[in-house]
Structures are given as C-alpha cells and as structure tokens.
C-alpha cells in the first residue's frame, strides 16, 4: 500500500481522523508514553522521530483491538510492527530491550530447525537479558508436568538456509 508520509509503512495513516478509538480500547494504554492515536497522528503529519523512540511500540501486546475497531480501517498493530522494524534499522536503542531480545531469541531459535525448542529459547532469552533465573519459579512444575521438552523438535531439512535468506540472525 502506498503511503504519503513514510515509505516503510504498510498502512496509509492519512486516513486517520483522530477519533481515538484505538487508544480508548487499548489494554496496555496505561503503560504507554504515547497513545496509539498520538503515534498515528505524528506519522500522519510527517513526524516519526518520537514514535520511533517511544515505549509504546515495544509494549504493544499485538492484540489487534485497535485494528479491528478503527473506523478508517487502519491496521494500527501493523503500524507498530513497521515502526519497530524501522527503529531497529536506524539502530535506535529500545526503551524496552527485553522485548527486542525476546523476539530476536525466538527467531534465532526458530531458524535453527524450523520449529522452536521452548526450553532452549527461554534459556537463551534469560541469558540475553542477564537474568538466568527469570520465570524460573514455573520451570520445575513445567518439567514435572512434562510440558518442557528437553529434546529439541524435529529439524526441517533446508529450513535454516532458506530462512536465512529472509532474515539475518545478526539483525
């Protein structure tokens, strides 16, 4: 979709008429610095620097409440995705580095075999954020209930090479 303001956006934010319905329904609005309608407004007027630095893009839960309620059919969740990608491209520091580390660890683990090995992925994520015992309180019970698989899942032939053409794990 062509966008008048920023070519990296998949959505046309110019459709926004600032009804704020997105912010009214956002479950994590309390913890945001910029509300969703403020993010969209800044982009619509051609100003993306505040949005790219915001907390908001990193704590958006990706629930799509805003997207399905928008009377102008802007997929706001997808705008958040595009902003995150752009902020990584520009090498801006994430105000919520755990989230970026989480997604990177997930994609890295997925690229190894084509399927995610939850135990290894969670372990790597904990190491990345420097908290090896993060979430550890549920781990023993997960083991006892046979929910954490020690052995990795089946490796999909050719997946690693195929997927690395799409995403460089160093990204």
């Amino acid at each position: 979709m062509v966008n008048s303001s920023f070519s990296y956006l998949h959505e046309n934010v110019s459709y926004c008429y600032q009804c704020s319905k997105c912010s009214a329904g956002c479950p994590v609005a309390d913890d945001m610095d910029l509300l969703p309608h403020q993010i969209i407004h800044s982009l619509a007027i051609g100003e993306d620097s505040e949005a790219l630095k915001s907390h908001t893009i990193w704590i958006c839960a990706g629930c799509y409440t805003c997207s399905v309620r928008c009377p102008n059919d802007i997929n706001i969740t997808s705008v958040m995705d595009d902003l995150r990608k752009k902020s990584i491209t520009l090498n801006l520091p994430s105000p919520k580095p755990e989230v970026l580390k989480f997604h990177r660890a997930f994609i890295k683990d997925m690229q190894r075999r084509g399927r995610v090995h939850e135990l290894r992925f969670m372990g790597e994520y904990n190491l990345k954020i420097g908290k090896p015992f993060n979430n550890i309180e549920i781990a023993p019970k997960m083991f006892l209930k046979r929910r954490l698989k020690v052995l990795p899942p089946k490796a999909i032939k050719g997946f690693k090479t195929w997927s690395r053409k799409l995403w460089n794990p160093k990204n």
Binding site: A61, G62, V99, I107, R115, V116, M142, L148, L166, N171
Partner: protein
C-alpha cells in the same frame, strides 16, 4: 465434510508446552470420526516475533506452510493455536487481497502457492463444520453442574480486513459448544480482553495486571472454571495464577481448561488421555 481433506497444523506450542491441547483435540476428533492428518514438514508460523520485527519474514514463514498444505492436497488447514491461526489466515488474506504480493513472494522464496488452502479456526470448525447437534449427541456425561466462562482472547476473532466466523467483540461460538456439553455459560465483560500474550515473559507486571482483571470478573460471575482456545491465554491464566491470585487478592483459584479438554470429559474420555494433569490449577471433579 469427509470429502474435504483436512490438515492439522500443530505449531510449536502444541508440540511442546501445550501438548495437552493437541492430545485432547485429536482424541475428540477421533471420537467424532473427523479424519485429520498432520501437515508433513510444517515449520513455525513466526508467532508474535516474526511480524513484530519484519512483516515480510512473517508472510514468508506462513507462505511456506500454506504452500506445503496445497502441495499435500489439503483443502483446509486447521490451526488450533490462536496465534498460528491468526498468522496463517491473515497471510492468506493478504495474498487474496494482493495477488502481486503472492507472486513476488513465491518468486523470492522459491515456493509456488496458488492461494487454494482455506485456514480454519477450531471454534469455527466445531460450530460450522462439525455442528452443535453432533457435539450434543456425543455427550456421555453432561457438564450440567458447571457454570463456565468462555475466554476467547484476542487472536481467535480479531483478524483485520476479514469477515470473522464469529462476532468480534462478543463472540459466542465457544459458549454454544459449552452449552451443548450441558453447562451454563457466563455473561461477562472479559471474553476478548487481552491477557498480555508474550508480555507474560517480557513485561510480567503488565500481563499480570491484565490477567488479574480477567480472573476477577470471572470470579465475580461465580464460575467454576474458564475455558480457552489458545495456548498463550492458557499459559498466562494458568501457570502464573498462583502468584497473581496473591498479588491481586483474588478470592479463589479458577481452573483453566482447553475447549477440547472439556469436550473430552463430557464425551466420557478419561482424564489421562486429555492432558488435564498438565494444567497447573487443580482440576474440577467432573
């Protein structure tokens, strides 16, 4: 129904930490005599992470699975995990709306998907394909003593630019299934309020706050349990409930079941075949 070849896309969590969902679903489908076959060689849908960092990566990952399904001659692909379902169906829809995008991504990834596979949600499939009557007829132990809150979460019904199989804001498909099992369902305000999804790991304080509201409203409606159709919702509501109950003064524990676990119990399948012991919260005596 039998003429349409049905594929099963488990996704990483149903193969891992939420195997109880897969186990109970396959048992229930077996009893209902619905043939279903796992998609061979499937790979991860990218979950919340691929689209969060790169839209094209998200599309390509799902294109791979859709192309596999088409090649393996599946007309329909059932994804019981709400996140996998959302990624697959929104990708499929994006290709439907933009054929040139599909062509260019096919070329880029060396795949040849023609857009012929239909992605199905478990609630949609149970309601519209299997039908309430067939579910009702299978009930051996009515759940009539129970009042249940159906929790749909976000990704089962909120698909941008797609006509949903159920009402987006106040869905009722799961309620219809639960009623067919004999139980009463709650009218409550948190059916589709977000549990925080992956924030449960990266920003637990935010996620716990969201989960506490869901649990409090369910408690106020005096339900015996909550039923879900999403592994992420299950993990957030079930595995951290101990802690959340203490932190937010929630009066009692609430067992969290997958829809197929309750169906299995009502159909008379023994608990041990439904992965119920894998749930953290103590099971009800049914």
């Amino acid at each position: 129904m039998e003429s349409e070849k049905l594929g099963f896309y488990p996704g990483c969590t149903l193969e891992g930490s939420s195997s109880g969902y897969a186990e109970s679903m396959l048992k229930v489908f077996d009893l209902l005599k619905i043939p279903i076959k796992e998609l061979d060689d499937w790979s991860c849908c990218g979950a919340s992470s691929a689209h969060a960092l790169d839209h094209e990566l998200h599309l390509a990952l799902n294109l791979r699975n859709l192309a596999l399904a088409e090649k393996q001659d599946f007309k329909e692909l059932l994804a019981p995990c709400a996140a996998c379902y959302h990624r697959l169906i929104s990708t499929n829809n994006e290709f439907y709306l933009d054929n040139a995008l599909l062509a260019s991504l096919n070329k880029q990834t060396g795949l040849n998907y023609q857009g012929k596979v239909k992605v199905r949600n478990i609630l949609d499939f149970l309601i519209h394909q299997v039908g309430i009557e067939k579910i009702e007829n299978q009930v051996a132990h009515s759940l009539s003593s129970l009042k249940i809150a159906c929790y749909y979460g976000c990704l089962n019904t909120r698909i941008p630019r797609l006509l949903p199989f159920d009402k987006v804001e106040y869905p009722e498909s799961m309620d219809q299934i639960i009623k067919a099992l004999g139980a009463e369902t709650a009218e409550w305000s948190y059916k589709t309020e977000c549990c925080g999804a992956g924030l449960g790991i990266t920003a637990e304080d935010i996620s716990n706050k969201l989960v506490s509201k869901i649990l409090l409203d369910a408690t106020a409606k005096e339900v015996d349990c909550i039923v879900v159709a999403c592994p992420m919702c299950h993990v957030n509501l079930d595995t951290r409930q101990d802690k959340i109950i203490q932190q937010f003064d929630i009066p009692k524990e609430i067992p969290i079941y997958y829809i197929t676990q309750l169906m299995g119990l009502a159909f008379g399948i023994e608990e041990q075949f439904l992965g119920i012991k894998q749930n953290f919260m103590p099971a009800l005596q049914i």
